[in-house]
């Protein structure tokens, strides 16, 4: 098997070409036998050779009596087979088998109604077993190139000719997608538009250190949730949620498993789906953000195929997200193009039961080939618009919302107390006073408007951002002659307002509190629970970068068998705080 590039020996190349193919008297070029491959230049040169000869030879039926078979342009990279049907009943043309054995340029025939375009894929791949996939008109081309073909130099992965025009019509605008989605390696995607001559696609892959589990094992992971569709996620836990087009949840697995599972949906040869699309055709995410207005119909359907016609070109895509699934309220769509070209202002995009018109300029994106961005093994570097459930993220992760903003999750640290020796220990832990070795009982004061029956409790100053998301705020009714702090259980807080826990002991304020009376928020004010030792209690807070000294105690005062109280103290740092306490009998 020889590869005859453009610079091959002419005599040898032409001889080999003529031996491998037959040129019939009507111009039809067909494969006879052989395993060689040829630059398209040798197609032209071989035809010219036999059309120059006085006599026919071998199985070819062409000689000087026949009209000119072909023309060549651009240093032999654009070959045009000529049609002389009218005058000579000769039409030089090739078929798919012949063109599988050519590379290096384009070949047109049937007066330009049919065309093969040259494709050269440059780059390097990590695994020698890597097989490139090529998508044309939303279909995978049948591979005749295995792990590479016509690799005329060390940087060339593949050189072939791809059918780009048939019966006078371009095949999806001559656009193709080249993919290298090989298990254990990073993924790569390149979109290009073929035409006359030879066009380049660049593909490079490397070992993926976070992808080292057997494919079948990963495909067996259970429970992982895609949660496709537009979602506002409060990644920063600041009460200001931002838009994403999905919300991945590893659900009982872990982030490495999640990253591998997503890759498995898109691996070469897969028939799994992702965003409703066969993973073979998914290139990583939305390829465009489309502002829309004028609507018809009712609702968009997540992951549905949508269509539009742009400049006469029928086009299609997958609906990755809509900011409002009811078309009357939709202002933006995120689409993954499948065929055709991007819509422009005024073009109507249509789904099964809804449509909207484009309103303004379409933003084009190049998705990450792995979809999610990068998983380093310890942190996500998220791709555009890819969201995760809060519990999957840590403070070292970075994600990018649909507005393009980079968001960092807060350092949500855990504070946990593990107790031994008592059945129902009660735990109190609070921020330490700035001077005394005691809790700070007055870190805030009662605000205005705290009337009996209210479902919220308002304090004077903004609540410390390093406050547990739910728990207990304690208030001393000094004005009312209170002799002890009263506990108010809250389920959330924001600004200077606690929302009382409707399922707790104090769903509403039990009395009217007077502005200015002291309050403080406990870090822990609860029972440690569990059927046996150790019994645990925990909470969390968003670490703000400064350590927090805390003090408190663990008590068990059941009159049947009280235990000696145990003072506790420590410092909440970037890793939180964990304490273990043993309660002795008294």
């Amino acid at each position: 098997m020889a590869i005859y590039d453009v610079d091959a020996n002419a005599t040898t190349a032409v001889t080999a070409w003529l031996a491998q193919y037959k040129v019939a008297s009507n111009g039809t070029i067909s494969f006879v036998s052989g395993t060689d491959t040829f630059h398209v230049w040798w197609l032209h040169r071989a035809l010219q050779k036999i059309a120059w000869d006085f006599a026919i030879s071998g199985d070819d039926e062409i000689n000087l009596t026949k009209p000119n078979p072909s023309t060549s342009e651009a240093l032999g990279t654009i070959i045009n087979l000529l049609n002389h049907t009218t005058d000579f009943s000769v039409n030089y043309q090739v078929d798919a088998t012949v063109m599988e054995q050519h590379f290096g340029g384009s070949v047109t025939y049937n007066d330009g109604d049919d065309e093969y375009g040259g494709l050269i894929v440059l780059g390097t791949v990590n695994l020698a077993s890597t097989e490139l996939e090529i998508i044309s008109d939303n279909a995978l081309l049948t591979s005749h190139w295995s792990t590479g073909k016509n690799q005329t130099d060390s940087q060339t992965l593949l050189r072939i000719c791809v059918k780009t025009r048939t019966s006078g019509a371009d095949i999806d605008g001559k656009r193709v997608i080249v993919k290298a989605n090989e298990w254990f390696d990073t993924y790569a995607v390149w979109r290009t538009t073929l035409g006359l001559g030879e066009k380049v696609a660049a593909i490079n892959t490397a070992n993926d250190p976070q992808n080292n589990t057997a494919l079948a094992t990963v495909q067996g992971y259970a429970g992982i949730l895609e949660n496709a569709g537009y979602a506002l996620l409060d990644i920063q836990s600041d009460g200001n949620p931002q838009p994403f087009y999905c919300e991945w949840d590893y659900a009982g697995n872990d982030n490495t498993a999640l990253s591998e599972w997503i890759k498995s949906r898109m691996v070469r040869g897969t028939s799994d789906t992702i965003f409703g699309l066969d993973g073979s055709f998914f290139t990583g995410g939305p390829t465009m953000q489309v502002p829309v207005d004028t609507d018809t119909g009712t609702v968009w359907v997540q992951n549905e195929i949508v269509t539009w016609t742009e400049s006469g070109v029928p086009s299609s895509g997958v609906l990755i997200a809509a900011d409002d699934m009811t078309s009357s309220g939709t202002t933006a769509l995120w689409l993954h193009i499948l065929t055709g070209i991007n819509p422009t202002d005024g073009t109507v995009i249509t789904g099964a039961t809804a449509s909207n018109a484009v309103n303004g300029s379409v933003l084009t994106y190049t998705p990450d080939p792995e979809h999610y961005g990068t998983w380093t093994g310890t942190a996500w570097i998220g791709a555009y618009g890819v969201g995760f459930v809060a519990g999957n993220l840590g403070t070292n992760d970075r994600v990018i919302d649909l507005d393009g903003d980079i968001l960092a999750p807060p350092n949500n640290v855990s504070i946990s107390i593990s107790t031994n020796g008592a059945v129902d220990p009660h735990v109190f832990l609070a921020v330490k006073d700035g001077v005394l070795n005691a809790p700070d009982y007055t870190d805030n004061t009662v605000g205005a408007g705290n009337t009996s029956g209210n479902s919220v409790f308002v304090v004077t100053s903004a609540i410390d951002p390093a406050t547990p998301p739910s728990g207990s705020v304690l208030v001393l009714d000094t004005t009312g002659g209170g002799v002890t702090y009263e506990e108010l259980e809250y389920s959330s807080w924001n600004g200077s307002t606690y929302t009382l826990d409707v399922g707790g002991l104090t769903p509403t304020l039990p009395k009217t509190y007077t502005s200015g009376d002291p309050t403080f928020t406990a870090i822990l004010y609860d029972s440690a629970v569990g059927g046996s030792d150790p019994r645990n209690i925990s909470t969390s807070l968003i670490y703000q970068g400064s350590t927090i000294d805390v003090v408190g105690w663990v008590r068990h005062g059941d009159p049947a068998a009280p235990n000696k109280p145990v003072p506790i103290s420590g410092t909440i740092g970037p890793s939180g705080l964990n304490l273990t306490v043993t309660l002795d009998a008294e």
């Binding site: 009660h426 109190f428 609070a430 005691a438 809790p439 009982y441 304690l474 001393l476 000094t478 209170g482 002799v483 002890t484 702090y485 009263e486 506990e487 406990a522 004010y525 105690w553 008590r555 068990h556 005062g557 059941d558 009159p559 009280p562 000696k564 109280p565 009998a585 008294e586």
Partner: protein, 150 residues
């Protein structure tokens, strides 16, 4: 009825209902009950879980060299104790304690049962230099009267 505690003023109030009547207005307070009730109050969420500890309790020493030694109960951290007014006498039973020291007087005669037994005293006679001066001065005044010498 139960004890009431003003955690702000640090006052523990014990009602007559939580005492054992001897006769009339005379009562006994079993310090074991006192201990348990204080521990309960320190433990519950709607009372004193948030507040600093009231009582330090040293466990009884039982069957030590043939004898059972009573526990110690010490009211700590500035808390004081008062009994309901109208009670004439309360006998504190079952522990050595410092209730008398931190008692808020409400007309109640409190009788502790503290027993020191073997005590730790200073080495030697225990008489300090100041004691010697005071003894000398008192002896002089007793013998010579309280005249002032030039």
């Amino acid at each position: 009825m139960a004890y009431s505690v003003d955690y702000i003023q640090k006052i523990v109030t014990i009602p007559a209902a939580d005492l054992a009547v001897i006769s009339g207005n005379d009562y006994n307070l079993d310090m074991a009950d006192f201990h348990k009730e204080i521990r309960r109050l320190e433990w519950v969420f709607n009372s004193g879980l948030w507040a600093i500890q009231i009582l330090d309790h040293t466990i009884a020493k039982l069957n030590f060299a043939g004898a059972d030694y009573a526990p110690f109960d010490e009211i700590i951290n500035g808390y004081v104790v008062q009994f309901e007014a109208g009670i004439e006498r309360v006998n504190l039973l079952g522990s050595n304690n410092n209730l008398v020291d931190i008692l808020v007087y409400t007309g109640v005669s409190v009788v502790p049962s503290n027993s020191a037994g073997l005590q730790v005293v200073a080495t030697g006679s225990g008489v300090t230099a100041q004691d010697k001066i005071d003894i000398a001065n008192l002896s002089r005044d007793t013998i010579l009267g309280t005249e002032t010498f030039p």
